[in-house]
C-alpha cells in the first residue's frame, strides 16, 4: 500500500491548480469549474484520510461536498446566465464597475 | 436615599429634564426655548447650592456618596459611584454657575437653531457635572467622552467660518488622549479588580514602573484637555471658531476637566509616579506659562489672545498641582475656578462687542472706553483679574501657586516658580496690550465701520450686565475673602498631600 501522503499530495496539487484557475481565468464558467476542481481535490484528501483512519465519515463528507457543489452549480450557473443576458458577456473582468 | 433623588444624581441629570421639555417644544418659539433652558440651568444651580449646603467642609473624604452596583458581571466591578469632596465641589459649582450665564449670553447671539443649541448646551452640562462627580473610572470615562459630542456640535454648527475644521480637530485631539486613558483605566480594572477610585487609591501597590506608564496614559488625556504645552494646538482653533457661549464653557469648565483629572486621578492613584514626574510637569507648565504669554501678546485676534492666555494660566494651575504641597494644590484648584471666571468673562465680553462689530481684529479697535464706559470698566476689571492684580481673584490663586511651587520638595527647585513669576509680568504685557488696543487711544476705524451700517456702538444693556455681574461679584469675593473657598477644599487637599508625601517617603 502506498503511503497515503502521496494521495494527499496529489490532492494538494489539484487544489492549487483549481485555485490558479480562479486567479488567472477570466471566463466566469471556467473560474467556476476551477472551484469545482478545488472541491474535488478536497474530496480526494478526504477519501485518502478516511483510508488512513478507516473512518467512513470522511467518505460521507465527500457526499455532502458533492451535494453542495451541485447546489452551488445551480445557483452559480443561473447567475451567469442572468448576467449573460444582461451584458452579453461572462468575462469577469468586465464586472468591475464597483470599486474603490 | 432614593438614588434618583440623591442630590448628586439630581444635580448631574436635572438638565436632562430640560432637554426632554425642549424636545417637545416648537423650534420657532425661540424665546420660550431660551427661557426653558435658562430656568433649567438655574434650577440646576439651585440644586448645586443645596449640595453645597449639605457639604461638610471639615470632612476630607468623599461625601454624599452614592454607590450602586451597576455592571457587576463576569469580574466587572463597575458601579454608579458618585461623590463629592473638596477637590470637586468648587468645580461642580463653577459648572452650574457658568451654564446659566452662558445661556444668558446667547440670548441675542444665537438666532439660528435655538432649540438644538439649548439641547446641546444642557447635555454638555450633564457631561461636565458628571465628570466632576463620578468616582468610578468607567462612569467617569463615559461622562468625559460624552462632553465631546455636544461641544463638537456647538463649535461645528454655531461656530465661525473655520468651524468644521476646528470642531473635528477638537474632537480628534481630545479623543486621541482619552483613548490612551481608556487603556489605562482598563488595566486598572483588570489588575486591581475595581474601577472605584477610592478603592483603587486605598489598594495602591502598583509597581513603580507600571505606575509611570499608567500615569503617562492618564496624563495624555488630561494634558491635551488642559492643554499643556506643547499639546495646545487645538485650543486656538476651537476657541476662535466656537460661539461665545461655547468658548465660555470651553475655557471655563472643559479645560478644567483636564486639570481636575490630574488632581483627582493622576496624583492620588499614582503617587510615586506623580512625585517622579513633578519636575517634568513643572517644566512643561513653566514653558507653557511663558510661551502662552508671549504668543498671546503677538496675536491680532482678540479671541486668540484670550485663548493663548489660557495656555499660560493653566500652566500656573499645573505648576501648583504638581507642587504637591497644600499651598500649590489649593492654589491650583482655586485658580481653576478663577480662570473659569476670568477667562469666561473675557470671552463673554469679547462676544458682546463682536455681536456689534463682527470683527475681532485688534487693529480696527481703539478708544472704545469713551463710547462704552460700562463695558470698558468691566473689561478692565476682568482683565486685571486675569493678570493677577492683588485684591482680585487671580492673584490669590497665582500667588499661592507660586508660593507652593517655590518651596515644593517634589519640584525640587525654586527656579521653576521664579521663571513662572516672569509670567506675571508678561500677563500684564498682553492683557494691557489688549485693553489698550481696544479701549484706549483714539477711536478705531471700527466705529466708523459700524456707523456705515446705520448703527452705533452701544454700551452694555441690562441683560448683558446681569450676565456679568455674578462673575464680577465672585471676582471680588475670591480676591478679598477667599477663605470660604479654601475652607471647602483644605481637608481634602491636606489628606491628598499627606498620602503623596507618604508615598514619596516610601520611595526613598
Amino acid at each position: 500500500m502506498l503511503p497515503v501522503s502521496y494521495y494527499v499530495g496529489l490532492s494538494a496539487v489539484l487544489f492549487a491548480i483549481g485555485a490558479l484557475g480562479v486567479l488567472i481565468r477570466r471566463n466566469a464558467i471556467i473560474i467556476f469549474m476551477s472551484i469545482e476542481l478545488m472541491l474535488n481535490a478536497a474530496n480526494l484528501a478526504f477519501v485518502a484520510f478516511a483510508r488512513v483512519h478507516e473512518a467512513l465519515s470522511g467518505q460521507i463528507f465527500v457526499f455532502f461536498v458533492i451535494t453542495v457543489a451541485a447546489a452551488e452549480v445551480a445557483v452559480g450557473l443561473a447567475l451567469i446566465v442572468a448576467i449573460f443576458r444582461n451584458k452579453q458577456s461572462i468575462d469577469v473582468d468586465q464586472m468591475s464597475s464597483l470599486k474603490g | 436615599m432614593n438614588p434618583v433623588l440623591h442630590p448628586l444624581t439630581l444635580v448631574t441629570f436635572f438638565p436632562l429634564l430640560g432637554v426632554l421639555v425642549l424636545l417637545f417644544m416648537q423650534s420657532e418659539r425661540k424665546n420660550a426655548l431660551r427661557w426653558t433652558a435658562l430656568i433649567t440651568s438655574l434650577i440646576t444651580f439651585g440644586i448645586s447650592m443645596w449640595l453645597l449646603a449639605g457639604f461638610n467642609a471639615q470632612n476630607p473624604d468623599l461625601q454624599m456618596v452614592i454607590d450602586l452596583p451597576w455592571i457587576q458581571v463576569a469580574g466587572w466591578n463597575i458601579s454608579y459611584h458618585m461623590g463629592v469632596d473638596g477637590l470637586s465641589i468648587l468645580l461642580v459649582l463653577l459648572t452650574t454657575f457658568l451654564t446659566p450665564i452662558s445661556i444668558l449670553s446667547t440670548w441675542t447671539a444665537i438666532e439660528e437653531r435655538v432649540k438644538d443649541f439649548m439641547l446641546f448646551f444642557l447635555l454638555l452640562e450633564v457631561g461636565m457635572t458628571g465628570v466632576f462627580l463620578a468616582q468610578d473610572l468607567f462612569l467617569f470615562y463615559i461622562f468625559w467622552e460624552f462632553t465631546l459630542v455636544p461641544m463638537y456640535f456647538l463649535i461645528g454648527i454655531w461656530g465661525g467660518p473655520q468651524r468644521m475644521y476646528a470642531a473635528i480637530k477638537f474632537f480628534l485631539y481630545t479623543m486621541a488622549g482619552s483613548l490612551l486613558m481608556l487603556l489605562a483605566i482598563l488595566w486598572l480594572g483588570i489588575y486591581q479588580g475595581t474601577f472605584s477610585v477610592p478603592e483603587l487609591i486605598a489598594k495602591g501597590g502598583i509597581p513603580a514602573d507600571i505606575q509611570l506608564w499608567l500615569f503617562l496614559a492618564f496624563a495624555a488625556a488630561f494634558a491635551i484637555k488642559v492643554p499643556m504645552w506643547p499639546l495646545h494646538s487645538w485650543l486656538p482653533d476651537a476657541h476662535v471658531e466656537a460661539p461665545t457661549a461655547g468658548s465660555v464653557i470651553l475655557a471655563g469648565v472643559l479645560l478644567k476637566m483636564g486639570t481636575y483629572g490630574f488632581v483627582r486621578f493622576n496624583i492620588p492613584l499614582f503617587p510615586e509616579a506623580a512625585v517622579k514626574a513633578a519636575p517634568w510637569m513643572a517644566l512643561l507648565a513653566v514653558i507653557g506659562i511663558i510661551y502662552g504669554a508671549a504668543v498671546s501678546y503677538a496675536q491680532k485676534d482678540i479671541k486668540k489672545l484670550v485663548a493663548y492666555s489660557s495656555v499660560s494660566h493653566l500652566g500656573f494651575v499645573m505648576l501648583g498641582l504638581f507642587a504637591l504641597n497644600p499651598q500649590g494644590i489649593q492654589g491650583g484648584i482655586l485658580q481653576m475656578v478663577n480662570h473659569g471666571l476670568s477667562t469666561g468673562a473675557l470671552f463673554l465680553l469679547v462676544g458682546m462687542i463682536y455681536e456689534q462689530t463682527h470683527t475681532r481684529d485688534f487693529d480696527v479697535y481703539g478708544g472704545l472706553w469713551k463710547l462704552t464706559p460700562i463695558y470698558g470698566t468691566l473689561m478692565l476689571i476682568v482683565a486685571l483679574s486675569s493678570m493677577g492684580l492683588p485684591g482680585l481673584n487671580g492673584f490669590v490663586g497665582e500667588f499661592t501657586i507660586l508660593l507652593g511651587a517655590f518651596g515644593s520638595e517634589s519640584i525640587g527647585s525654586p527656579w521653576y516658580a521664579g521663571l513662572a513669576t516672569i509670567g506675571v509680568i508678561l500677563a500684564a504685557v498682553y492683557m494691557l496690550y489688549m485693553f489698550q488696543k481696544m479701549f484706549l487711544g483714539p477711536e478705531g476705524s471700527v466705529v466708523e465701520e459700524v456707523k456705515k451700517h446705520g448703527h452705533s456702538i452701544k454700551d452694555l444693556n441690562w441683560r448683558e450686565i446681569v450676565t456679568l455681574v455674578p462673575i464680577l461679584v465672585l471676582i471680588f469675593w475670591i480676591g478679598l475673602y477667599p477663605k470660604p473657598f479654601f475652607a471647602l477644599m483644605a481637608p481634602t487637599v491636606d489628606k491628598l498631600v499627606a498620602a503623596v508625601q507618604a508615598a514619596a517617603v516610601a520611595m526613598h
Binding site: 481565468r25 469549474m33 477519501v47 483510508r51 | -
Partner: protein
Amino acid sequence: MTPELITFILLASIAVASGLGMLFSRNAVYSAIYLIINFITVAVFYLLLGGAFIAVSQVAVYAGAIMVLFLFVIMLLGAEKLGRSGDTLPWQRPLAIILGLGLVAETLYILFFQAGELVALKDLPEGFGSPSSVGSVLFQEYLLPFEVTSILLLVAMIGAIILTRQEKKNAGR
C-alpha cells in the same frame, strides 16, 4: 517501483495534466471535458482508497450530471471562447502562478517533512465504503446533515429560479 506506485504515477499524471488542460485551454468546452477526465481519474483514486460507492457517485453525479450542466450552459450561452482583449491585469497571472507553486511547495513540504507519516496500517474491513455501509452511517450518524443538504438543494433551486426568471419590469436596485 511497485505496481501500485506505477499506477499512481500514471493516474496522477493524467489528473494533473487534465487539470492543467482545463486551466490553460482556450475553449471552455475543452476545459469542461478536461475536467470530466480529471473527475473520472479521481474516481479511480477513490476506488483505490476503498471508496467504491463514492467513486460511483463521483462519476455519476459530478462527472455526469454537474459537468453536463456546465457544458449545457456553455453551449447555451455560446461562450466557448472568450475574445482575448488584452490582459486587464498584467501582473495577476505571474503572481498567481508563483503563489500557486508556493502553495504546492508548502503543502508538499508539510506532508513529507513535517507531518507524521500517513499510512494505512491495516487492510480495510469488509464492505468499507460499500453502499450499505455508507447508507447506514449516513442515515444514522449523519441524518441531520443529510436533511440539511435537501434544504440546501431546495434553496439552490429557488435561487436559480429567481435569478433566471424573466421579469416584466425591473426598476432600481
